[in-house]
C-alpha cells in the first residue's frame, strides 16, 4: 500500500455535537487533526544546489519537497555545465565556492542569483559585503533557505 502523509492541509477537524453530559454538554472533534509540518514554496523556482555532502543532498531534497525544481550537483564540472544552461533562478553553494560559481555564471545568459552559505562569522561578514542574502550554516534551517529563495524570486531575481 502506498502509505503517505496527506496532512499538510489536513488540519481540518469537524465538530460534532456529542452531548456527553446531562446538565451539561461536550463536543467531539472528528478528523485528521494536526499534520506533519511540510513547508511549501509559494513561488516555485529552479534551484541549483552545489555540494558533495549528504547535507547538501538533503537540502536539495527538502527544497524539492517544498515544490521547487531542484538540481543537485557535486562536481565542479557539472556545476559549470548546469550554470551554463541558464536554466536556474538560484544557485546555493558554500561561500568558499564563490569563484567556481562566478566562473560558471559569468558566461551564462540569465545568470542565477548566488545564495552563499557562510560557515563562520568572518565568512558571513565578507559575504554580506557582496550579497544581499546570505545563509548561515549554524543558524539557518530549511525554512530560512525557502524564505531567501522566495524573496529572491519575488524580487525578480
Amino acid at each position: 500500500m502506498n502509505v503517505r502523509t496527506v496532512l499538510l492541509t489536513g488540519l481540518a477537524t469537524t465538530l460534532i455535537a456529542g452531548n456527553a453530559y446531562a446538565c451539561g454538554d461536550s463536543l467531539y472533534r472528528v478528523g485528521k487533526g494536526v499534520s506533519y509540518r511540510v513547508y511549501t514554496a509559494p513561488l516555485p523556482g529552479s534551484v541549483l544546489v552545489y555540494g558533495s555532502s549528504e547535507g547538501a543532498e538533503q537540502l536539495a531534497a527538502e527544497l524539492a519537497r517544498s515544490g521547487h525544481g531542484v538540481r543537485f550537483v557535486d562536481s565542479d564540472e557539472d556545476l559549470q555545465s548546469e550554470l551554463g544552461s541558464g536554466a536556474y533562478d538560484v544557485v546555493i553553494a558554500a561561500f568558499s565556492d564563490q569563484p567556481a560559481v562566478q566562473a560558471g555564471t559569468s558566461a551564462a545568459n540569465g545568470a542565477p542569483v548566488f545564495l552563499p552559505v557562510a560557515q563562520t562569522d568572518e565568512e558571513e561578514a565578507r559575504a554580506r559585503q557582496d550579497y544581499e542574502r546570505v545563509m548561515v550554516a549554524e543558524d539557518d534551517e530549511i525554512k530560512h533557505y525557502l524564505k531567501a529563495i522566495h524573496q529572491t524570486l519575488k524580487g525578480g531575481r
Binding site: 481540518a12 446538565c23 555540494g51 558533495s52 553553494a93 568558499s96
Partner: protein, 330 residues
C-alpha cells in the same frame, strides 16, 4: 566545497529525524487530497464535571465521571470531497458529594404524580452506566487558497441507542443534530506555527417544540517543535442561543408557590426533559500535542477544563488520548 560540506552538515543534522519520517512523500502528495486517502482514529476521553452554574447560582453537590471511547474515520471520495463518521461509546456515573445524596434524578421517585416518566431507568445510582451514544456521518468539501484551507461540512448525528436522558449520569440528550460548519486552517509560509478555526451551527431536534439549536466553535494555535511533533493551545465554545435556565418557572407545576417545593412541584414533562431544554453555554481551554511515530501512525493527547459556563456543569478536568492510523489513496 568542504565549506558547504561542513555548513550543510548543520542542515543535515537538524533535519535528519524528520527526513527519515517524511522520506516517502513529496510536496505534491502532501498538498493534495487523493481518492482513497483515509484515517481511522480511536480516542479515549476521561472527564470529571463539577459545579453546575445556573443564572449565577452554583450547584456544587455532585460530580460526574465520564469515559468515552470514540471511533471515527474519514475517507476521501476525490480531491475535494471527504466523508466522515464517528461513533462514541460513553459510560458515566453520578457521584454524590454531600451526605444527603446529591439529588440523583430518579424517575421512580414518588413525587412523579401529574406527569409519570415513561422511561423508568435509574442511572444515578453511583455506578457506571454506558451505551453507544450518537452516531454521526457527514461530508466535507476542501478548498485551498495559498496557505489557507477551508473545509465546509455538514453532518448528521442520530442517537445510536435509546439511552435515557433524565439522569445526571445520562450519556447524552437523545436528540438528533445537524451541524453545518466550516473549518479554516492557516499555515503561514516558512513558519512553524499553524492556526485552525472551526465554526458550526447545530440544528437540533426540538424537544417539546423548543428551539435548542446552538453554535460550536473551536480555535487552536500550534507550534511544530519538530516536523512530527506539535503542541497546541485551544479554546472550544458551545453557545445555545435560546434554551432556558435551570431556574426557569417552566419546570414547575402550574400555580406552584415561590419559592417552589423541590422536587414536589417539579413533576412536569418539562422537568423530565430539562436536560434537553436548558441552554448550555460553555468555554473550555486546553492544551494538546500530536506526535507522528511514522507516516501511518499518530498519537495525540489533550487536557482541558472549563473557563466559563452558563446553564451547564463545569469541566473540572478532561483528558484525551488518541491513536490515528492513516491510509494513502491511489
Amino acid at each position: 566545497m568542504d565549506c558547504l560540506k561542513n555548513s550543510l552538515a548543520h542542515v543535515s543534522v537538524s533535519w535528519l529525524a524528520s527526513l527519515a519520517l517524511i522520506a516517502t512523500i513529496n510536496v505534491a502528495q502532501a498538498q493534495e487530497q487523493r481518492r482513497g486517502d483515509a484515517s481511522l482514529r480511536l480516542e479515549f476521553q476521561s472527564i470529571r464535571t463539577g459545579t453546575f452554574v445556573a443564572d449565577g447560582a452554583d450547584f456544587d453537590y455532585w460530580t460526574t465521571d465520564t469515559q468515552v471511547a470514540l471511533v471515527s474515520g474519514d475517507y476521501a471520495i476525490n480531491d475535494r470531497w471527504t466523508v466522515f463518521a464517528a461513533l462514541p461509546y460513553v459510560r458515566k456515573r453520578f457521584n454524590s458529594e454531600v451526605p444527603w445524596g446529591g439529588d440523583p434524578h430518579n424517575p421512580n421517585d414518588p413525587y412523579w404524580i401529574d406527569f409519570v416518566p415513561p422511561d423508568t431507568r435509574f442511572w444515578d445510582d453511583g455506578s457506571y452506566h454506558g451505551d453507544f451514544q450518537d452516531f454521526s456521518i457527514g461530508l466535507s468539501y476542501r478548498v485551498v487558497k495559498g496557505p489557507v484551507t477551508l473545509n465546509p461540512y455538514i453532518s448528521y448525528g442520530v442517537p445510536a441507542t435509546d439511552y435515557p436522558f433524565f439522569a445526571k449520569a445520562a450519556i447524552g440528550k437523545n436528540l438528533w443534530t445537524i451541524p453545518v460548519g466550516t473549518t479554516i486552517s492557516y499555515v503561514p509560509y516558512f513558519s512553524d506555527w499553524h492556526f485552525n478555526g472551526n465554526l458550526a451551527y447545530v440544528f437540533s431536534e426540538k424537544p417539546m417544540d423548543a428551539n435548542v439549536d446552538y453554535w460550536l466553535a473551536h480555535l487552536s494555535a500550534g507550534y511544530w517543535f519538530k516536523a512530527n511533533l506539535t503542541v497546541n493551545a485551544f479554546l472550544s465554545l458551545k453557545y445555545t442561543l435560546d434554551g432556558v435556565s435551570l431556574l426557569s418557572p417552566i419546570f414547575l407545576d402550574e400555580g406552584a408557590a415561590f419559592p417552589p417545593d423541590y422536587p414536589g412541584d417539579f413533576d412536569t414533562e418539562e422537568w423530565w426533559q430539562h436536560d434537553r431544554l436548558i441552554g448550555n453555554r460553555n468555554l473550555n481551554f486546553g492544551l494538546s500535542a500530536d506526535y507522528f511515530f511514522s507516516p501511518e501512525w499518530k498519537v495525540s493527547g489533550s487536557a482541558y477544563q472549563s473557563v466559563w459556563v452558563e446553564e451547564t456543569t463545569e469541566i473540572d478536568y478532561a483528558f484525551t488520548i488518541a491513536l490515528t492510523r492513516f491510509f494513502g489513496g491511489k
